[in-house]
């Protein structure tokens, strides 16, 4: 008899749920649900709804089906924005992606006071992004007395137009963006490097490998997983670049730094008589779907590389 009563589970009723702490669980969960609901999920739902409406948030909205999507695709600024965003992401991948890795590898070789170097590397990340951009904007003064042009003058390079020329504006943005964001990735790589087995390096040294071959044959393969994740994160992040084009050049000169996010912003807030939130949300949705698809393809393609 005693054995049966031990094995029989108590009946679960609402009262038992409350008694076992269910109410306090819910209370703890509520703020999270509220914040995410109000600031994440509800705006996403509203975005999808507004993308098929014609609305300026002041007058009543009307349903227009796919008209907004068609209008965006036919907008002459759309291909320009896509091209510029791809250019920014590409430049950032070419120059901004290897730099934190090189920095981390160099820093891991340092024996003494490594902490100072990581702190210095992280310092630009700590500076608020808007402050950093406005600071760099004064540095980028194109006259010969601008900060960067003065420094270039010391090594006998002529003053550069920086933000004042269509050819140099985007690279200038990438330069500041790399400076501002590399530090965070350096810290990640430094942590990942500690997980590499030092015996591998010793074995390679026995085989006569120099530092470069060690990096190519040991460090990089060992860091494969982290590198693939930071690459997709960077691509997604740079595809959504807004701050640098907005604050540095407002998309100029002559739309050479107009990115997709800035175009969305201009659709929504560029017209002083009221924005076209339909087009803005349509383009946002298109970007989100594109990035989701891209990430899915990327993860599938690299699945075999990242697992051992």
């Amino acid at each position: 008899m005693t054995r049966d009563s031990e094995h029989r589970l108590p009946r679960r009723t609402p009262l038992t749920w409350v008694r076992s702490g269910g109410l306090s669980t819910l209370l703890f969960l509520l703020p999270l649900l509220f914040v995410f609901g109000a600031f994440s999920w509800y705006p996403i739902v509203r975005t999808v709804v507004m993308s098929v409406q014609h609305t300026n948030l002041v007058q009543p909205a009307t349903w227009v089906g796919l008209k907004n999507f068609k209008a965006v695709v036919h907008d002459p600024l759309f291909p320009i924005a896509v091209k510029n965003t791809a250019y920014f992401a590409g430049l950032a991948l070419l120059f901004g992606y290897p730099i934190p890795l090189i920095g981390a590898v160099l820093m891991s070789e340092v024996r003494k006071r490594r902490g100072i170097y990581s702190a210095l590397a992280y310092l630009p990340v700590v500076i608020p992004p808007v402050v950093a951009v406005l600071l760099w904007k004064t540095f980028y003064d194109a006259s010969s007395t601008g900060v960067f042009n003065t420094i270039l003058g010391w090594v006998h390079i002529s003053p550069q137009p920086w933000l004042q020329s269509q050819g140099t504006a985007m690279p200038s943005l990438v330069l500041e963006s790399t400076w501002a964001n590399a530090g965070g990735t350096v810290i990640i790589y430094l942590a990942a490097l500690t997980s590499v087995n030092t015996e591998l390096y010793e074995a390679a040294a026995v085989d006569g490998a120099g530092i470069l071959r060690k990096i190519w044959h040991i460090t990089l393969p060992q860091l494969r997983g982290v590198l693939l994740v930071t690459m997709i994160l960077q691509i997604i992040g740079t595809a959504q670049v807004f701050l640098e084009p907005y604050l540095f050049t407002s998309g100029g000169p002559a739309n050479s730094t107009l990115t997709v996010l800035l175009l969305i912003y201009n659709y929504a807030f560029g017209n002083s008589l009221g924005g076209d939130y339909g087009k803005a949300t349509a383009l946002s949705l298109m970007l989100a779907v594109f990035l989701a698809l891209f990430s899915w393809i990327y993860l599938r393609a690299t699945r075999s590389w990242s697992t051992e």
Partner: protein, 456 residues
């Protein structure tokens, strides 16, 4: 345990009761007074400017004990205005340019203040063309004009002297502007002539000003059936003038992305010889950039001999939020009357306003255009004459010259969108030596035309 829980419940109940009483008491008190928020100064204004504004608020509240006024920093820029409009966070009384007021009124985004405005004693003295800027097609008054301006040529007298030019003889033709700019750049190393080039519609606004002064127009017709004429030969001429100054003479300095505030800052800092902006920017030069008054000179925009050449005029209106209730609308119009209009129509108010400004070292007497008739304008200027603290003598070329010029209103349809279409054209000319002006203008024209046709 039990007694603690009981005490807590009682405490909470008493607390709720107290809050309910307080709210009820508060509600009774607020039934006797109305609160409105009003646009005050541009962010970044000096402490003295803010003080002078607060003193004016205090004077108003003293004369109107039932009204509580809350100043809110405010600057009209295209993106922030649209966002605030959508969010409903504009102050009760805010300012809009001539270019937008009518369309906003037609779309129901400005309160109808017709009945309150018609009761104003000086209602009949308004310049009808100026009052029309704030009146919808159905005759509803949605905004009151607070100031009108004509575009002007601002020049740095000190740089003129340094360059060997006569500061009392500013250039009166575009040829002279180009020559003087070259001389200033060569002799002083500063930009001889600068033009706004930011992507916030200011680049298009100034280009339109230059084109008007050559005799061109950006639109013909009105409403959504207007035709965009951005490609007219005088626009090409204006852009070629810029091209010459920028690339051949190298007299425009090195930075071309300045907006309204940036170019004022650079001018006050002594880095620009000449630039075009509204005739009333001296106030901003003092309030935000601490200009040395002795360097400031004001001249009319040079007009070409073309019979259509004229000076672009614009202005600002004060409007009321559509969500304001009747009491708030009445209070808002009273504030607009006190702060914006009284100094122009009533001698005691004009004097008191001038005294407050002078006491806080703010400019009095900056040249503006009349929003009432010319007689009223001249009369108001005599009232404040003893208080004028701006270098009016240095502005003489403008004050004597502007009334001889033909005043032309900004393009009537989708004004801001037309300016926005021109921004990249100006930027391309200033940043690309080989910019193809004609094809850029073709593209800009189609963008502007689609904006006009859709009423955007």
């Amino acid at each position: 345990m039990k007694s603690t829980r009981r005490t807590t419940c009682v405490a909470v109940a008493v607390g709720c009761l107290l809050i309910a009483c307080a709210t009820a008491a508060g509600a009774t008190a607020s039934a006797k007074s109305v609160t409105i928020s009003v646009a005050s100064l541009i962010p970044g204004s000096s402490a003295a400017a803010v003080q002078q504004f607060n003193q004016q608020v205090a004077q108003f509240e003293k004369a109107n004990p039932g009204i509580n006024v809350q100043p809110v920093e405010y600057q009209w820029t295209a993106p922030t205005f649209a966002a605030k409009l959508a969010a409903g966070t504009l102050p009760t009384v805010f300012e809009v340019p001539f270019t937008d007021a009518r369309t906003l009124g037609e779309n129901g985004q400005l309160a109808d203040i017709t009945s309150y405005v018609k009761k104003l004693p000086y209602y009949s003295k308004y310049n009808p063309a100026v009052l029309a800027e704030g009146t919808t097609s159905k005759g509803k008054i949605v905004a009151l004009p607070k100031g009108a301006y004509a575009q002007a040529l601002h020049y740095n007298r000190k740089l003129f002297v340094q360059a060997g030019l006569n500061p009392n003889k500013p250039p009166s033709t575009w040829g002279q502007v180009i020559t003087d700019a070259k001389i200033i750049a060569q002799k002083t190393g500063k930009a001889g002539y600068a033009e706004m080039g930011k992507s916030d519609n200011t680049a298009g606004w100034i280009l339109t000003t230059v084109v008007y002064s050559l005799g061109g127009r950006m639109e013909t017709g009105s409403g959504t059936s207007a035709k965009a004429t951005l490609t007219n030969p005088l626009t090409v001429q204006a852009l070629n003038m810029l091209k010459k100054m920028r690339w051949t003479d190298n007299s425009m300095g090195s930075n071309f992305d300045m907006g309204w505030s940036d170019i004022n800052q650079q001018f006050a800092a002594g880095n620009i010889g000449m630039y075009i902006s509204g005739s009333d920017v001296y106030t901003n030069l003092v309030q935000a950039s601490n200009i040395d008054p002795s360097i400031y000179g004001l001249a009319p925009i040079p007009l070409s001999k073309n019979k259509n050449a004229g000076v672009l005029g614009g202005g600002t209106l004060a409007a009321v939020k559509p969500s304001a209730n009747a009491a708030q609308k009445a209070a808002a119009v009273k504030w607009m009357d006190f702060f914006y209009e009284q100094p122009l129509v009533s001698k005691p108010q004009a004097v008191r306003n001038a005294q407050t400004l002078v006491a806080n070292k703010q400019p009095v007497g900056v040249p503006a255009l009349p929003i009432f008739n010319l007689k009223q304008y001249n009369l108001a200027n005599t009232w404040i004459k003893p208080y004028i603290n701006v270098p009016l003598g240095q502005m003489k070329p403008f004050t004597t010259g502007v009334f001889k010029q033909k005043l032309i209103p900004e393009p009537g349809s989708s004004t801001q969108s037309v300016y926005a279409a021109l921004d990249p054209v100006v930027q391309a000319v200033l940043t690309d030596k080989n910019a193809d002006v004609e094809s850029l203008l073709e593209q800009a024209n189609s963008v502007a035309q689609s904006a006009i046709s859709s009423g955007a």
